[in-house]
């Protein structure tokens, strides 16, 4: 039996924060968050709206300053080296409507290109075609999805070593979302990139991801590779005797419980054999121990702390 991992056994980190804490008035946006994004990873930061995801990303660009804790990107302190960090990051903000509403899309791309020596004009043109950008439209009249695509183009076209994508698929129709995932897969094949994606739509981007961090109410509940998550979490269907008292020794690792008649369904974190043995020792019959899809795993992790404290099923 082991606690959910919140630290990676990683070597080279492109993003590393230590105990980041940020309050807005009496609201705590981040509480001791220690993100670890290994170089080359595609890291999903998941959590419900208001969990602190956008604040965490902004802290990495020094667009928001934490009250305490440290944030390092490329080994640089974001407080003292914010400008250097921003110059090497492609950022898609959650709300793509900031500023430049009066500017036409084509003009904005030209304007943006001048800030980035590495801007690849041919690639920008290609992206504009794939994303079907209307270059003569003004930014201010674009739909959310259209503005998102402009920002994706601006983020990708200078091939930065780090992409910070805040809800990148939000507002995209299913066809354009699919196209965007294709663009990202192609981009990763061509350009060595570390990607940090914040989203509350895990299922929309999970194919690209290899790491996951789960943020709830400003606290990082868990952080690990997706392989570790898949390996460590199982859904158990258990046939139980009348009036079953559960398994006290699994207390704290059962993330989800459901009961129907004499069958219970648990999602449990831990070694499958060990968990199954403990259930069997408590007179439960394990009918199935099945891997859990990433979306269900995420939901289970987000629920941590709500249900895991109950000692028995009820």
């Amino acid at each position: 039996m082991s606690a959910l991992p919140s630290r990676l056994q990683a070597g080279d980190l492109t993003v590393a924060t230590q105990d980041l804490t940020k309050r807005f008035g009496d609201q705590t946006a981040l509480s001791d968050v220690s993100l670890q994004v290994p170089t080359g990873a595609v890291y999903l930061l998941v959590g419900p709206n208001g969990a602190g995801k956008s604040t965490a990303l902004k802290t990495l660009l020094d667009l928001v300053r934490a009250d305490s804790g440290r944030a390092e990107v490329f080994g640089l302190d974001t407080r003292s080296d914010g400008a250097r960090v921003r110059a090497n990051v492609g950022y898609v903000p959650e709300r793509p409507d900031w500023g430049y509403g009066w500017m036409r899309v084509g003009r904005l791309l030209e304007h943006h290109a001048r800030y980035f020596p590495a801007w690849d004009t041919a690639y920008a043109t290609k992206l504009a075609r794939i994303f079907d950008l209307k270059l003569n439209r003004k930014m201010g009249v674009l739909s959310k999805g259209q503005a998102r695509r402009v920002h994706l183009t601006m983020a990708l076209a200078h091939r930065p070593p780090l992409l910070l994508l805040d809800e990148p698929t939000d507002g995209l129709d299913p066809l354009m979302r699919d196209e965007t995932l294709g663009v990202l897969a192609d981009h990763l094949s061509e350009t060595p990139t570390t990607v940090l994606i914040s989203t509350h739509h895990v299922e929309e981007v999970e194919r690209l991801a290899d790491h996951i961090g789960v943020l709830r109410e400003g606290t990082l509940r868990a952080q690990m590779t997706i392989d570790a998550l898949r390996a460590g979490l199982r859904r158990y269907r258990i046939e139980v005797p009348e009036g079953w008292q559960g398994v006290a020794s699994l207390n704290g690792t059962v993330l989800r419980r459901a009961t129907g008649g004499r069958e219970v369904q648990w999602i449990v974190w831990g070694d499958e054999r060990d968990v199954a043995r403990r259930i069997t020792d408590a007179n439960g019959i394990v009918r199935e121990a099945a891997p859990v899809s990433l979306i269900d795993a995420t939901l289970a992790l987000l629920g941590t702390g709500q249900t895991a404290t109950a000692a028995t099923n009820s």
């Binding site: 080359g40 595609v42 699919d178 995932l181 294709g182 897969a185 192609d186 990763l188 094949s189 061509e190 299922e203 999970e206 194919r207 690209l208 991801a209 290899d210 997706i226 392989d227 898949r230 269907r237 009918r287 199935e288 099945a290 891997p291 859990v292 899809s293 990433l294 979306i295």
Partner: protein, 136 residues
């Protein structure tokens, strides 16, 4: 060859790619020495991380199902389609069926009897005949 993956499937995506290639080899849609798509191409087609495709290709190589020709890509191994691969595929299908049976409170014996009954009544005949045609 068509490879498809499903993120809802509990198998990791790289395992799904390996299984799809194995299946195509056993069924015969992938001939020995046929080229596999490039990592980039398959990553874009499936909308997956290119590292996942590389991992799948490394696994195929490790299992002796594929080989790499420097600068040219990954190819299906020449000696790959034999009884061993068919048995491995059958074992995987059996394991899945058995898990399903057990979840439904059925024993292995009950499952085997039901499979044989289904076979003799022709429930699966359409599927099976289709499979036999592609094998030739």
């Amino acid at each position: 060859m068509l490879i498809s993956v499903d993120p809802g499937d509990p198998r990791p995506i790289y395992v799904q790619i390996v299984d799809e290639v194995r299946r195509a080899m056993v069924v015969g849609t992938l001939a020995p020495d046929a080229p596999l798509p490039s990592v980039r191409q398959l990553a874009v087609d499936l909308r997956v991380n290119p590292n996942t495709v590389s991992q799948a290709y490394r696994e195929l190589e490790r299992e002796g199902l594929a080989y790499v020709r420097r600068g040219q890509g990954t190819f299906v191994a020449a000696t790959s389609v034999n009884g061993t691969e068919r048995r491995a595929l059958a074992a995987a299908v059996a394991a899945r069926a058995l898990r399903d049976a057990y979840r439904n409170g059925l024993s292995a014996r009950e499952l085997i009897d039901a499979i044989e009954a289904a076979e003799s009544t022709g429930t699966a005949a359409t599927l099976r005949d289709g499979a036999e045609e592609t094998e030739q």
